[in-house]
Each structure stands twice: as C-alpha cells, then as structure tokens.
Symmetry: C4
Subunit: 250 residues, 4 copies
C-alpha cells in the first residue's frame, strides 16, 4: 500500500466546484457541518483516500471500514457545485499532515476545483450564548464576500494560527494560487457542538447558495443542551445522568 492511495468510486461532472472540507477538529464543528450537508443534499461518493498516515484501524459502525477520507460530489438545485471532504481522522504524524493535504488538493484539482473553504471550530474555553463565525482568507475579495455574509474577521485571531488540515488547506491552497477560506464557528472546545456547526453552515449557505433544513442539527443541539444541564446537575450533586446522554461528549 502506498503512503497515500486514492480509490476511484465514481465520476461526476462538476461545474466550477468549491472544495468544502469537514474533517474532525475542535468541537467536531467542521465534521458535523459536512455530514449535515451530506444528509440534507444528494451526493455521490467519488473518491476515497487511504493512507499509512491515518490511524491503523477500522471502524465497525457500518460494516468494516478502513480509516479513510471521502470526497462527495454535490450538485444542488440552487447554488454552486461542491466537492465535500468528510472523514473520521486527521493524519497521525507531522509529514503525514502535509502529504494528506497535498493528496486532497490533487484530487480537488482533478475535479477542476479552484476555490476552497475549510470548516472548523475555534475554542473559546467556555460555554457560549452567541455563535459568531470567524474567518481567515487568502484574498481580499474573499474577505469582502465573507464579511458581507456575516463572518467576523478579527485581527490576529485565532491566536497561534490554524493547525492541521484546515490550516494546511489554506496555506497549500494559497501556494497553488486558489482563493481559500477557513470558517471557524466559536465553540467551547469541551463538547461536540451542533449549534456552532449550524452557524457555520448558515454562512456557507449564504455564500454558496444551497438550501438545507436545520431541523436535525437543532434537535441534536437540544439534546446537547440537555446533556450539559445534566452534567452541571451531576457536578452539583443531583443524581440524574443516564449513560446514553453522554453520547455527545466524544
């Protein structure tokens, strides 16, 4: 097996598609957002990437699946075509991060992608009420376009930059001269956060023009609030915490 392998699952013609990345990160914001898009819109899995830099494991949730990342072609009735990248893992070592993103960008290039947006979360360290979405971009035009859609551009935030797949997609996409943006929903950083994922998707919907329903994300957000409430009670001594409500923590 090569260090990076791209398996062809299907082929779909896309028209000036935007690469939308949602791999796991802070609060699983990007992952939830990408998975919600794929639940709500019709999509076709087109490429699967395996790598010796992914963790050496298989999931057994839906038959046996070797660790991988998947590209899905999405051609919504309203809005731009998208190539959505989803998965359960990032690379497990330094050079692997670079190699995987190089591979992701090569796949995107095969589909004539010329713009990309990475979705993620930025941790605030505390539970929050108002879900802002902050941004980082490689061109002024993108900053203008995204500001108009409600993205906050704050000087020198996130402090310390952007680490991992999202950061490298920005930096390595920039080196290929593709306009690249990263949308980061504010989130506590302690929990998987459906509200933050929704805030990010609402911005993306505004920019790319697709139409999705948010009912299932809102439902998960309600369940999450219930879980948080119970954890707070637990910490204060009250006895009601059934196991299955802790599902969102991981």
């Amino acid at each position: 097996m090569d260090d990076y392998e791209v398996e062809v699952l299907d082929d779909v013609e896309l028209d000036e598609p935007v690469l939308v990345e949602g791999l796991p990160g802070v609060g699983h914001v990007g992952k939830l957002a990408a998975e919600h898009l794929l639940e709500e819109l019709e999509s076709t899995p087109v490429r699967r990437v395996y790598s010796t830099h992914f963790p050496p494991q298989v999931s057994v949730e839906d038959g046996v699946e070797l660790a991988s990342a998947t590209f899905h072609a999405v051609t919504p009735e309203d809005g731009q075509d998208m190539l959505v990248l989803s998965g359960d893992h990032q690379a497990q070592d330094n050079t692997g991060h670079y190699g995987l993103v190089d591979t992701f960008l090569d796949v995107a290039e095969d589909f004539d992608v010329e713009r990309l947006v990475a979705l993620g979360g930025v941790p605030t360290g505390e539970l929050i009420e108002e879900y802002d979405v902050i941004g980082a971009v490689t061109t002024e035009d993108l900053e203008t376009e995204l500001s108009e859609a409600g993205v906050d551009f704050r000087e020198n935030e996130p402090a310390g930059g952007i680490v991992g797949v999202s950061g490298l997609l920005l930096g390595m996409g920039q080196r290929r001269e593709w306009p690249a943006a990263c949308l980061m929903g504010e989130t506590s950083g302690y929990l998987v956060d459906p509200k933050s994922a929704q805030a990010v998707l609402e911005i993306l919907q505004d920019v790319l023009g697709f139409e999705v329903d948010y009912a299932s994300l809102e439902e998960r957000a309600d369940e999450m609030e219930e879980v948080v409430r119970k954890i707070q009670e637990m910490e204060q001594g009250a006895p009601s915490t059934p196991d299955e409500d802790l599902r969102y923590i991981g």
Copy 2:
C-alpha cells in the same frame, strides 16, 4: 536491512489455507490462542518477517532471537489447512502498522490464502464470568457462518472500532477482496487471559474443523484464578503472594 524482510524457512503445500493471526493485544488473547494451536497441532515454520518497525530488541528466552513474526503451516488431519501467524510484537509506529500488515498479506497470498481470521480480545473493564466471543466481518456469509458457530455480532461493538494488526488485516484484507473476520474474546483487559483464548479457539475449532485438547489452557486458567485470588487477598491485607505466581500479569 530493508524496512520489511521476509525470510524463507521452509516450503509447504497448503490447500486453500485460512490465515489465522494471533499477535499480542488485549489480554494477549490472540497470542495465547495462536500459541496453543501451535503446541497442540503439528506445524512447520515457513516464513519469518523482520522489520525496522518492530522494537529494536532481541529476546533471550530461547537463544538470541531478533524481534520478528513467524508464519507456520498447519495441515491438521481434521479440518482446513491454516497459515498461523504468531509473534511477540506489533509495529512501533503508525506507518509501520500498515507496512507490516501489507507484508503479512503478501506472504499469505504466496500461500494462496483467500480467507483470514484475526484473533484478539475486547476489554470489558472488569473480571468476567461468562466468556462471550464477539465478531466483526467483511461479508454477510461470514456473519451467518460465525453466528451459527456462536459468535456474537453486536451493533457498533467494539465501540471505537478495531485498532492495530487485527483491524488492519480486516480492512486491508477487505481491499484485496478476501473474506475476513475478527474474533474477539471478552476479557477484563487487566490480565493475560487463557479462558478467553479458549473461548475463541472453541469457536474457531467449530468453524475450521481442527481438533485440539484444552487441558494446558485450562491449567493456565486455574493458575491465573489462583493469582487473581492472591492479588485480591494482598489488596485486603493477607500476606501470601510468592513471586512466581505473578508470572501471568505481564
């Protein structure tokens, strides 16, 4: 020395052999099971795999032996031919896990293996009375066959999937289109577990048709229970714990 080296020890004709893997893991269940098979049935070591991804060490238990994994050809009077993989180590780094399993599958392919079963343990976190064996498979036919033999198929278990050699044998065997199964004996996870190894072997015997005696495993299980009893006494204050009974903990 290459990253992965395969040394030819002997050659044996095998008829549609099944690859049976028993490298160290949770409770050493797979390792004990594979070693028991090799004690009870006649076998010929046919290939030895060395790797720069194995720990940099030699054992001195039986003369000097550089870290390695060994394939043994087993042609029992009753039952299917087997290619049994045993050893004392897994890979020490991420890409090494993938490379080793690729190498193992290539060796198996040389022997015309077309089916594989990985043996291991699944930790329950507590000492157990009833030793169930749970399974994960890559084909429906295998699920049917193994259910009939008494394997439990539980939705989304093990939670978090299967990590390491056993998981990769499933995932990478699947990519070679070989039916692949993993049998995991429940075990506390705290101790080396001969009872769990026996539970797994009894299933395997049912499926593959060989005949072995379990007396030595039962004896080790009795010794293990004695060790556990003494540890419990020790924790409660009683003074009787001779060193050699702690042999099973490691």
Copy 3:
C-alpha cells in the same frame, strides 16, 4: 510537496556574505536579534523554505502564511553583507532537524556564503543583571576574533552541548569546512528576552561592522521589566496585571 522546498523570491548579489541565523530557541534571543536586524537595516527577502517537517500550520498575523523560514539579503552601508535567516519554527522531528539545516546550508552556498554565525540564548535558570554572551566556534581564529569582541569562551559550556538548528549549523557547517560560530546570550529561560538579544547584537555589530539603533529593543526591555515586576506583585498578592502586558511571556 517535497520534504524541503526552496522558493525563489528575489535575487541579490552579495559579496562574501555571512549567514546569520535567528530561529526560535531559548528566550527567543536569536529570533529577536534577527528580527531587530531586519527592522533596522534594509533587506530583501530572497528565499523561503517550506517543509513537511515544519509544524502543519499557518499563521494569520499578516494574511495567511504557511509555516516557513526566510532568507533575507542585507547589504548595509557599513559592514559585511549578511544573509539573515528568520522564522517562527524549528523542525518537529529528529531527521527533519538535519534535513532543514542541510537545506539552509545549500541555500547559503548558492549565495557564496563561507562563514556563519548562529544566534541564540543560554538559560541560566534565574533572572540576571549582567548579560554576558558566551560562544562556541569551529576555528581558533574565530575564537580570537570573538574574544576580542567581548564573547566569553567558557570550558565545556553550555553543558550538554548545543541542540537544534544552531548546533547543527555549527556541526554541519564545520563538515563543509566553513568557519562557524554560535553566540549565546545569557537569559533566564523563562521569558522572551530583549536585553539578551541586544547583548548578542552589540557583539555582532562589533564583528560585522553594521550600525543599528537599539531604541526599540530597549523599549521592549523596559516593557518586559514592567511585566516581570507585575508578575512578582501578582505572586505576592497585588492585583494589577492587565492582559496585554503578558504579551512578552509567550
């Protein structure tokens, strides 16, 4: 993307330039020193080095910048030409340290560099009053020259040798038969240290002949002393520590 990539930004003719390295290390002494030189003297960025061994991240301080190190050509009116190496990161793994320094030396060779000086700090473990600069060199002539400029050469210091980019520039520069020196300003090791950076630059100025003003470094040193004073008050219980004064700690 290759393991080490050198991007050409510009080309400048340099006359027997000295490579001056200031990547992050103890007290950020070398980094502050190099950055001060680049603020005070005119320079042209000529080469940028990217690497899969740099951390997988982008900074967002000044638009999106993929982790890198930059070479600047400096041709001061007074003094020798310099090729100044600055950046925010060192390699993240062992072989990466060697590969990056090999790459840095190759770039320097392209500019006909034949002498190098690495700038850094040596931790004393306590806040200090007098800022000595200790040295390590690969030739006796360099030791003579630097002693005359005020550098302390102490037997077997730093204890444990010199680790990282600066150490390897000495060792690998020596193997290319280039006279190489490391200047290390004493520093507590707890804080970013503008005074130590100034001590090192004053020596370098004496040796290489350039003229710079130290006002901005002195200003940062004053701010740093204010921060230290506040931390000491904080530890003793007084309540005055506005966040922005902690800027120097990182």
Copy 4:
C-alpha cells in the same frame, strides 16, 4: 546529508579483529568500558558515523563535534586485534536503531570483523556488593568460552530481552552468521558505574588477551562511592554535598 554517513578517518590493517561495542546504556557500563580501553591501549580512529537519526546536536567539550559514533582500530601487543565502537548517543527513533546497527556492521565487515561483543549493564534496582557479569550469545561455543572466563548465563535473563544497539548487534550479527556475544555487568541502574565497567573489562581481557591497568577506573569507583555516601547523608539530613561530587550521576 544521507541518513547514515561513514567518514573515513584513517586506514589500518587488522588481523581477524573483534568488534567491541560500548555505546551509552544502563549505568553507562559499556561506554565506560570502551573509553577505558581507548585510554589504556593505543588506538587509531578509523571511521566516524554521522546520522540524521542521532540527536540533532553538537558537543562543545572538545571543540565542536556533531553527534556521531567512532570506530577505533586497536592492535594490542598481547591479545586479539579489536575494532572498538564508542560514542555518546544511540539512535533517537525506531527505524534509526536498525539502520545504525546495519551501518555499524557494514563498517565492521569492511575490516573483516567476524566476531562481535557488545558491552553493557543490566539493572538490578539496588546498590550491589558483588559485580557479576551476565551474558547472552548466539553460539554454544561462545557460551562455553565465556562461562570459562567467569560469565554467568542465567535462564531467561535479562527478562524482557536486550534492547537497543547491543541487542540489535546480537540479532543482526547473528543474521550475518557472525558469532556474537553481549556482556552485561550488574549495576544499580541509578548511577554511572565504574566498578561494573571494570568487572566487564576483566572478563573481556581474559577472553581477548589484552593487558590494561585498572587504576583510573578504581579511582573513579572510589569517587563514586564517596558521592553515594554523601547522597545518603543528604537524604538523612547531613549538609556536606559539594557540587562537583555529583559529576558521576549524569
């Protein structure tokens, strides 16, 4: 720079030399032993090995020296020719251990080495009175020869085998069909141990026939005992521990 580089320093004709390895390990026993041999007998440095798998550092004890290991040709008046391997470091990562030992064995092969002995320590976990030397070998003849010289061969000791350079020299030397032995002096494991080094050298002297004086090692052993005594006093409250006596701990 290649992953493993061998620099030729000099060439000496050796007659059926034995490779004697003394890199750092438990109690620095092997290192002290090799260094003592090189102090007492005339030797010529013949090869130096650099590697991207050695720590990225230089020592400044004796001018600037990039991390390396050195082969010295020793042709004593009495006794067999030796190729002594000394150094301050082992590899810093898994594959590096294997690659370095492969390189060491290739250098030894260039000098027609056909036998090797690795020197090291085995930790007992407590300060000891009687310094036994235990052994591990790849041939029965070697076991006989070394037993006669006073080496203890204990079943299954060291428990857990032999890790690092010494272990790999045994295992990889065996694969090249060279008789290989490891002599391990018992040592507490807490301190650098000149007495253990002497015990090992006395055995080696018996086997290989050279003649050395042990005065300087005995002197260091006396100093070490003084240090231990002071540490014991310190732990019991007495105030006499000048810094320079702690020199042996590192």
